[in-house]
């Protein structure tokens, strides 16, 4: 079966650090917010860990950003600069996950070196990586030292506003952390995409067989 190198090393390093960091941030975030109900660690340790991991993930974010900004791999997010087509592709992919997959229909997306994401994935990841994650990092930094960033916090309407934004995104990421691995398990076999994110290579079925995403 042909193999395509679709996950370059910097992306894989960023991805797994990010995955581990997100899990830690979610666990410590839950501990911080629900200290009365959880006993994973002390509140102080949870805050300290949350701050350090958050800082590490901000640095790690730049691995992703710099890689895509300074290589032609940025094309994986927009193989064709055609928003209408991209949107239609997203709907088609949504239809596949919501209906076609149950009927045994083939995946409408065919993986390629510059087409590693299906349109729905591409759109979702762009919203996550260009909008949601930076907002989460930014609000996290503001909350990390409220006195230092007092002016900015007040500009956004106060600590409760900043914290509420941070918590709403936190809630979104909690749902994401469950859905993302599930969608990754839709390959053949279920471990295929996980393995690819380690080795960098996706195995591609011969035409015209259904693809895995």
């Amino acid at each position: 079966m042909p193999r395509l190198y679709v996950h370059p090393l910097p992306v894989r390093i960023w991805h797994w650090i990010n995955a581990l960091g997100f899990v830690l941030l979610i666990l410590t975030g839950l501990q911080i917010r629900y200290a009365d109900a959880l006993g994973l660690m002390s509140f102080a340790d949870a805050v300290r860990t949350h701050n350090w991991v958050g800082g590490a993930l901000i640095l790690n974010y730049f691995v992703w950003l710099v890689f895509y900004l300074f290589t032609d791999k940025i094309r994986v997010y927009h193989p064709e600069l055609n928003p209408a087509k991209h949107f239609r592709g997203s709907l088609r992919q949504l239809g596949y996950y919501g209906y076609g997959i149950f009927k045994g229909q083939p995946n409408p997306h065919h993986i390629g070196v510059y087409r590693k994401f299906n349109p729905l994935q591409s759109m979702t990841y762009q919203i996550v990586m260009i909008l949601l994650v930076p907002i989460q990092f930014y609000t996290g930094v503001l909350l990390w030292d409220l006195s230092r960033f007092k002016g900015t916090v007040e500009l956004f309407g106060g600590v409760r506003v900043v914290d509420s934004v941070h918590v709403v995104l936190f809630i979104f990421f909690i749902a994401f952390i469950f859905v993302h691995p599930y969608l990754a398990s839709l390959g053949h076999p279920a471990s295929a995409h996980f393995k690819a994110m380690v080795t960098g290579y996706e195995e591609v079925e011969e035409e015209p067989g259904p693809t895995r995403r």
């Binding site: 009365d36 109900a37 600590v159 409760r160 506003v161 809630i171 859905v179």
Partner: protein, 454 residues
């Protein structure tokens, strides 16, 4: 009407005694004060005091009243002399001549303070007073003629504020410094005789048991504080307003900020919004006070300007009410975590016993968030508090009405908890449901061709 009891005999052909006049009459000064400006008089008084201080050697003879003062003492030196205001209310008019002569004001003489007494119609004339307290308070106006700086400080104090509201129980100069036997720095007495104790007894008892009270007066490299060291002597500000007391703590405990920063996240913020005793008086009951703050004037809103609602549940209405169209700056509620009473604020303990467990506050249902008040500064300078329901801290509306106060965990918004539960439910159940449905339908699809073949 007031009357003198007992009325003294007239002496030395002087005018009759007993008159109390509020206005300053320079004719009564022992010098020709009509031609001497008040500032010169004050300077002269200071010079006399300095001279007296430099001459106060151990061998110096005890001062005796001057000839002028002896004329006053002819009547006022009689023991039991009082001024009666009826219903048993009276004020002593007896002055111990030698004590006064030895006092810090002795060299100035009686007339320096009692310049309002006109000997021609003394006693008997003068403004009448309803109570002995009102009479005593009127007398201390004389203090400000020389001690202008202290009078100015006092005028801005909470005690003066209370006085202005008509509460004559508030202390004035003589309540702390005494009346005639005023000694140098007489307002710094021994720990068990501090004048503040007259009114703030429960607070003083708590102080006396605290490390500060225990160490007061004992020899050592550091001087333990007493009331005036933290609350100031004349410009006493209400304990629950401003940051004066926090600054007083940090004034002595200079390394406290750095020591807290070693373990306490957001140290500066904690020191800003959590009063020191909230942690350092660990047994104290705590509460949250939301102060209405005017960002334009950069101070707490006073009762005259604020329009507090009687119904504290209507927090949003309150904020909309004070931020009507045309208001130059948006007024906000500045939250602070405090202890519930002055006595509890003084139940300080050693550093090792202070609260260091974050979860005391950072958890749902924590004690401080059970008692919430909204406050404005009253006309007397003290906070006027209105009870508020706990949901002002937890409701979704708090994002708009209370954007500046938030304690992680402790004041979390309930709606977001619900949203998190839904996200968890959806995040876990959606993949499981999708997986199960996929397997079931695949099996059905696999079975259908087989059935067709059969």
């Amino acid at each position: 009407m007031t009357e003198l009891a007992p009325r003294p005999r007239l002496a030395l052909g002087q005018a009759r005694a007993g008159r109390a006049v509020r206005s300053f009459d320079p004719r009564m000064l022992p010098v020709k004060a009509t031609t001497v400006p008040r500032r010169v008089l004050a300077a002269a008084a200071a010079a006399v005091l300095c001279l007296a201080a430099t001459q106060s050697g151990a061998a110096a003879p005890a001062p005796t009243p001057s000839a002028e003062d002896r004329k006053c003492l002819a009547c006022h030196g009689q023991e039991g002399m009082t001024k009666s205001f009826g219903k048993g209310d009276s004020v002593p008019l007896h002055v111990k001549g030698r004590e006064f002569a030895a006092s810090v004001h002795g060299p100035l003489g009686c007339a320096a303070c009692h310049a309002d007494v006109d000997l021609k119609d003394h006693p008997g004339a003068g403004k009448p007073f309803d109570t002995a307290r009102a009479f005593s308070i009127a007398q201390v106006e004389a203090c400000g003629q020389c001690h202008e700086d202290k009078a100015k400080l006092f005028a801005g104090s909470v005690h003066a504020g209370v006085l202005r509201t008509g509460n004559l129980a508030a202390p004035v100069c003589t309540d702390c410094h005494g009346v005639h036997a005023i000694a140098r720095q007489a307002a710094a007495p021994a720990a068990n005789d501090v004048s503040c104790r007259k009114c703030h007894d429960a607070i003083f008892d708590a102080y006396a048991k605290s490390p500060h009270g225990q160490a007061f007066g004992k020899p050592g490299p550091l001087k333990a504080p007493i009331c005036a060291d933290c609350h100031r002597a004349h410009d006493v500000s209400p304990a629950a307003t401003g940051t004066g007391l926090r600054d007083a703590c940090l004034g002595c405990h200079a390394g406290a900020v750095e020591a807290h920063a070693k373990w306490l996240p957001n140290t500066k913020l904690h020191l800003e919004v959590v009063s020191c005793p909230a942690c350092h008086a660990p047994t104290s009951r705590k509460s949250v006070d939301l102060r209405l703050y005017d960002p334009v004037a950069k101070r707490s809103v006073t009762a005259k300007e604020g329009q507090p609602p009687l119904d504290a549940q209507a927090l949003s209405d309150l904020m909309r009410g004070v931020n009507r169209d045309g208001t130059p700056g948006k007024m906000t509620l500045v939250g602070r975590l405090e202890v519930r009473s002055g006595a509890e604020a003084h139940q300080l303990t050693g550093k090792g016993e202070a609260i260091k467990d974050c979860v005391v506050c950072h958890r749902k249902g924590a004690d401080p968030f059970q008692n919430v008040t909204i406050s404005i500064v009253g006309a007397d300078g003290r906070p006027v508090r209105f009870a508020a329901q706990q949901d002002v801290l937890h409701g979704a509306g708090s994002v708009d009405a209370l954007p500046g106060f938030y304690a992680i965990g402790g004041t979390r918004i309930g709606v977001l908890d619900l949203l998190l539960a839904l996200a968890l439910l959806a995040g876990i159940s959606a993949p499981i449901a999708h997986l199960v449905l996929r397997r079931l339908l695949r099996r059905k699809q696999a079975a259908a061709p087989a059935a067709k073949r059969e």
